[in-house]
Symmetry: C2
Subunit: 169 residues, 2 copies
DNA sequence: CCTTCTTCTTGCATTATGCAAGTACTTATT
DNA sequence: AATAAGTACTTGCATAATGCAAGAAGAAGG
């Protein structure tokens, strides 16, 4: 990046944000971490959207350099790296929930199971309407959980994704 | 788009949303309508981000076909068209406000005027914290206003943008 | 060792975006 | 009426971003 294009300059907040995560893949990666509990390169690769390896590497690198994601070596397997959200990355949770709500409202999907409303888990949407702040805190607090048994039903269903009748695309 | 790529299929809400406005320019256009009160092609062209004419035309066309924006001929000048947000487009306002809040928190900008916090108007941020729903309703209701004199201070300052000490980039 | 796992990198094809010029219609000016 | 200026685009070509397939390098497992 040339110095006169530095985005830490006087500019609109929308432009600032778009330069950091306004591409085709960054929010998909953040979704995988936030809602699917993913942490490894290979886990991101296995998502249904099929990001290619070079793009994934470059996005993870950018997200790390922007301070949204941290990268640490897995002490149990030195060829693996653990990607986690920083506080700056976790602060995107409200935004992600807004996207989910908007899509749930405007993406009519006939014939999906009862517990999924337009691609979003029903109880996640319900809790969004009831107590948004509580849900945000719960998801945020549970980010480091490795064992599903300690997770709430809301988070479990969110991580399960297309549970029930999964017709893939 | 091939039929098997139709985004109205069983898929995650994040992916659904990204296919509609997850590009470099859509949210910039929506920002101009929501916060700057812009409605004409030439007004979008004059934004500091300098979108090129072909991209602007194709994005407006896509936003219209996705139902976020409506296009009507200006009865006072038949060579002009008015672009407005539909309800589906207006429903992105909470998302836009979250982006603004995130950027305001994480985009440190030294030496900007007192009324601008990291690129966002101070009183907009204040009202976001105090009564978010009221602010959303106010901005939404005032979208059709042509005459600035009837707008609240919050909306006026938001539309003014880099008011005070505008160093451009 | 030798194979497999894991995280990338590299080279090349395809798609998206950027830039400059041109077109068609409408409005304003002379 | 003729000309110029305004407005919303389109078109052709250059550059940049993304997609795909293969390969490289260190770690783990047998």
């Amino acid at each position: 990046m040339k110095s006169h294009e530095n985005h830490y300059s006087s500019k609109c907040p929308i432009t600032f944000a778009l330069e950091i995560f306004g591409d085709k893949w960054s929010l998909v990666i953040l979704r995988d971490i936030l809602f699917k509990g993913k942490r490894y390169y290979s886990e991101f690769l296995s998502s249904p959207e099929k990001i290619s390896t070079n793009i994934l590497a470059s996005r993870l690198n950018k997200l790390e350099s922007e301070g949204l994601v941290s990268k640490t070596q897995d002490t149990k397997n030195l060829s693996k790296y653990i990607y986690r959200l920083t506080d700056k990355g976790k602060d995107l949770l409200p935004l992600m929930l807004d996207i989910i709500e908007w899509s749930a409202k405007h993406n009519p999907q006939p014939g999906t199971p009862d517990n999924i409303i337009n691609g979003a888990p029903r109880n996640l949407l319900a809790r969004l309407g009831e107590n948004r702040e509580e849900l945000i805190k719960e998801i945020s607090d549970n980010l480091e959980q490795k064992n599903d048994s300690r997770l709430s039903d809301t988070i479990k269903s969110a991580r399960a994704g297309k549970n029930g009748a999964g017709k893939r695309n």
